[in-house]
């Protein structure tokens, strides 16, 4: 997670007092990461931009209620996360059944599948391939993989962002990775 900007406290005070310019400067260091978070969850750049901007506007309006108990970055990403979840609920999106054909145990990998997996990891398009797998995870598990594995948040930060206990985050992340692994191993060449 990005280190707090040196004058973040001063910007925070000014922004809470209604200074829009201060708010823009306050969120500037986090915008790209917040957009990346939204994009890796939503999978679509336009949708990610909408979600991210919605969240940042909400953050601006909610700022008077921020009391500093959590880090500002964690608080901000909490808003991006819940905006994404709100969007999913609003669309009442139901993933196609084939997206999660094996919500039980992922299959044990055979040697050929493992070899194919490592071949794909060496390709230039590996990130798109990984994100294609991530997109097939349920939204809440997808968020955990994005926050931890793509963006490097700590378990404590993820717990604060998603509103779950750190131990629960770790357990569910394990589950998410197992599902993702199963999907990536099942894919053909």
């Amino acid at each position: 997670m990005a280190a707090p900007i040196p004058d973040e406290e001063a910007l925070l005070r000014a922004a809470r007092g209604g200074d829009r310019d201060a708010f823009e400067r306050l969120i500037a260091p986090y915008q790209r990461k917040a957009y990346a978070f939204a994009l890796r969850q939503a999978g679509d750049p336009d949708l990610a931009q909408d979600i991210c901007q919605d969240a940042l506007v909400k953050a601006c309006l909610a700022l008077p209620g921020f009391d500093g108990r959590a880090a500002f970055s964690t608080w901000l990403f909490r808003i991006v996360y819940t905006t994404f979840i709100d969007h999913v609920r609003k669309r009442r999106a139901r993933p196609p059944e084939e997206a999660f054909p094996d919500m039980g145990e992922p299959p044990a990998a055979d040697a050929a599948a493992v070899d194919r997996f490592f071949e794909k990891l060496r390709r230039d398009d590996r990130e798109a391939w990984l994100l294609n797998g991530v997109a097939r995870l349920p939204p809440d598990l997808r968020s955990l993989v994005v926050l931890r594995d793509f963006q490097g948040f700590s378990y404590r930060e993820i717990a604060d962002i998603t509103g779950t206990a750190p131990a629960t985050v770790k357990w569910r992340l394990n589950r998410a990775r197992a599902l993702l692994r199963g999907f990536l191993l099942r894919e053909g060449p």
Partner: protein, 240 residues
């Protein structure tokens, strides 16, 4: 999957991040040394996580900052005076940024007046075993804590940029809590009513009593014309 493999799979995250206590790590390593499929799973997972961690962060799309600035500026644009009437429901988005529950974790007490009586629907099922927690995701901020048999107030709020009439409020009450009404603990699974959102912050103060140990979630929904927003507040009922 046999129990030994399940045991190792459940600890893969800790193993790969070197976060296991030494005895547990030794246990996992002993199993991996003798189990080909688990060894492959660990190897694949480690490589997968490393690849994700090395992914390049996508740049902001062109126009993102300008678009955001325009939206922020619109928040400050004074509206011309007009006769008081319900605001037209937002086109694609509410004029209501509903994401306030983060601060609800702080338990700030603010006044809110319900504009219509609550309507109850359904009764709460009998609570499950008192030592069976129900972990919920997407709870807002830190949960409210209450002792078994004790009372607490959950705060959930929504902001509105302007007044909105004809809004349906729904509260979903979990089995482990009762709503306090007139000094009486009432078992109810859903409360709903028609009301309005005032411009600014609207806070629902919900007096509750914890009747079963565990972690529970109250969900508050606000809906108009098929468009819905939801917030949640976690409640932890601590055993005596």
């Amino acid at each position: 999957m046999n129990p030994d493999c399940r045991h190792v799979h459940d600890r893969l995250a800790g193993y790969l991040e070197r976060d296991l206590a030494p005895p547990e790590r030794a246990e996992v390593e002993a199993h991996l040394a003798s189990c080909g499929p688990c060894r492959a799973a660990a190897r694949v997972t480690g490589a997968m996580v490393a690849a994700m961690g090395s992914a390049v962060e996508p740049p902001l799309p062109e126009g993102f900052s300008d678009g955001l600035r325009a939206r922020l500026a619109a928040l400050d644009t004074p509206r011309p005076a007009r006769p008081a009437r319900p605001a037209r429901w937002g086109s694609r988005r509410w004029p209501v940024p509903g994401l306030i529950g983060v601060a609800a974790a702080l338990g700030l007490a603010l006044a809110f007046v319900l504009t219509a009586p609550w309507q109850r629907s359904g009764t709460a099922p009998a609570p499950g075993p008192s030592d069976a927690p129900v972990p919920m995701t997407a709870a807002v901020g830190e949960p409210v804590h209450v002792d078994l048999g004790g009372d607490a107030v959950a705060h959930i709020w929504f902001d509105a940029a302007e007044p909105i009439d004809g809004v349906r409020f729904t509260l979903e009450i979990p089995a482990g809590v009762r709503v306090m009404e007139g000094g009486e603990a009432v078992a109810v699974s859903t409360l709903s009513w028609e009301g309005s959102l005032a411009a600014g912050r609207n806070v629902i103060k919900l007096p509750l009593r914890g009747v079963a140990r565990g972690t529970w979630t109250v969900t508050a929904k606000v809906e108009k014309d098929g468009d819905e927003r939801a917030q949640t507040v976690g409640l932890v009922v601590n055993g005596a």
